[in-house]
């Protein structure tokens, strides 16, 4: 959860008084808070930590770090269904590293 996952902002909107956005992580889209990245707009590449944009990146770096994170199994839980009730623990299937073992 310390590395964050790069994604592209595809929508910006306000919700409950704070600036939010939709972020595309290689085809999976997630809602993320943009309060800490006031400069970003639609089309910006950002690094998302647990649903919050903390910094911006360029597209090339985003691609590189995404591949590295996928290989490490460190893509946080971006593929977690973002339902209003959360995911029940027994239904949780973490994404492991792309290839484990030597």
């Amino acid at each position: 959860m310390c590395l964050g996952v790069p994604g592209k902002v595809v929508d910006v909107f306000e919700e409950d008084g704070i600036r939010m956005g939709t972020v595309d992580f290689g085809g999976i889209t997630r809602k993320a808070c943009l309060e800490y990245a006031p400069e970003v707009e639609v089309g910006s590449w950002v690094v998302i930590h647990v649903g919050f944009a903390i910094s911006t990146v360029d597209e090339e770096e985003a691609r590189r770090s995404y591949e590295l994170l996928a290989e490490m199994g460190n893509l946080e839980d971006i593929d977690l269904p973002q339902t209003p009730e959360g995911v029940r623990a027994e239904d949780y299937r973490p994404a492991g590293p792309a290839e484990a073992g030597g």
Partner: protein, 367 residues
């Protein structure tokens, strides 16, 4: 040499390896603090490429690993309450408490849910007003802005059934604890790039000066790590001890100002116990008075016997860099990611899991 095959940047990486070896006139021991950096180093075999000139030891930067046992037990106790829902990041589910983990609490009838963001936990609270919804707020400075925002929104929106079980830890006090620990051998630090994206590096400057250690803010890609190592080694060879920034494309000296402002509004520093290490002064965050009503530890005071750890597990020694994961007698035999004795074998950021996933074998202890 895996990264030679897999990375387009292999020529740059190998040039950096050569330059590091040329620069080092003796053996230097460096610590990377962040567990994500540990995974890159081990998976790419960078540590083995640099030996013997450079010894890399791995730091405590795995939030799941250092969350104290007592708080895991508290989370499990809350999860089992009929009047509560425990929300967590997914990687906490299998971290062993003294008797069981959160998945077992779920199997015993507790309501445990995984969320991607603390704001999602706030939404669970709004939809379940008859329950207290507790979010297990673990992590370093990188998750603090998110957890702070969730509490701030709960207060603004009047969501009174939302609470945080706060286990936040901070990197700079941990670096001090390692530097003053008996037998410390770390001579330079790679500071965690994404933590510094939030906090900047001003608070590392007195550490470099007062303890005479180079600290280089470093990213997590292979080339970043090699460049951070080279910058640290150059300082050591030249007798300098400063904070330098390798990760210039992401980190500025003052960090992320809006994020720091919300952290400061919601949290204050406190002493915190680190799993396997013990209490480190001023190394944690807790809710400020104005937000204390959202503190799960006050709503559900702790009960039961004090927590106890596995006697075999050497996680504490691993977390401060005194032993490497493959030197632990339980590594890979009694302790595996499937059946972990300690948290560093569970988490995607844990050093023991990094070694195991890279296929490292246990090192026999010298006779």
């Amino acid at each position: 040499m895996r990264f030679v095959d897999e990375y387009r940047d292999d020529r740059i990486a190998l040039a950096l390896v050569d330059e590091i070896r040329r620069t080092a006139t003796r053996t230097w021991t460096l610590m990377e603090v962040c567990g994500g950096q540990t995974h890159t180093l081990i998976r790419q075999g960078i540590d083995e490429l640099l030996e013997p000139e450079i010894q890399l030891v791995h730091g405590p930067g795995c939030p799941v690993c250092v969350t104290p046992l007592a708080l895991i037990d508290e989370a499990i106790a809350i999860a089992k309450r009929p009047d509560a829902i425990l929300c967590s990041f997914g990687d906490m589910l299998r971290v062993p408490g003294s008797q069981e983990d959160l998945l077992m609490a779920r199997a015993a009838g507790g309501d445990v849910r995984v969320v991607y963001s603390p704001l999602d936990a706030l939404e669970v609270a709004r939809r379940n007003p008859e329950k207290t919804v507790v979010f297990f707020a673990v992590g370093f400075e990188t998750t603090a802005p998110a957890n702070a925002m969730a509490v701030r929104q709960a207060k603004l929106l009047g969501v009174e059934n939302f609470a945080l079980l706060v286990a936040h830890v901070l990197v700079p006090p941990a670096i001090v604890a390692i530097l003053v620990s008996p037998g410390n051998r770390v001579q330079g630090f790679l500071a965690p790039g994404h933590v510094c994206a939030v906090q900047g590096w001003r608070e590392y400057e007195p550490l470099a000066r007062d303890y005479g250690v180079p600290i280089v803010v470093t990213g997590f890609e292979p080339v970043d790590l090699l460049e951070g190592i080279l910058m640290t080694v150059r300082q050591l060879e030249e007798g300098r001890h400063e904070v330098e920034n390798q990760y210039v494309r992401t980190v500025v000296r003052d960090g992320n100002a809006p994020a720091r402002a919300v952290i400061d509004e919601v949290f204050e520093t406190c002493d915190r116990a680190w799993r396997g290490i013990g209490v480190i002064p001023k190394s944690g965050l807790r809710l400020r008075e104005a937000y204390r009503a959202f503190d799960a530890e006050l709503r559900f005071p702790r009960e039961g016997a004090p927590a106890s750890e596995s006697e075999l597990c050497m996680a504490g020694e691993v977390l401060i860099g005194r032993v490497k994961p493959d030197e632990c007698p339980a590594y890979g035999t009694l302790c595996t990611p499937e059946s972990p004795l300690g948290a560093p074998m569970v988490s995607s950021e844990g050093a023991c899991a990094a070694y195991f996933l890279a296929g490292r074998r246990r090192v026999e202890a010298p006779a």
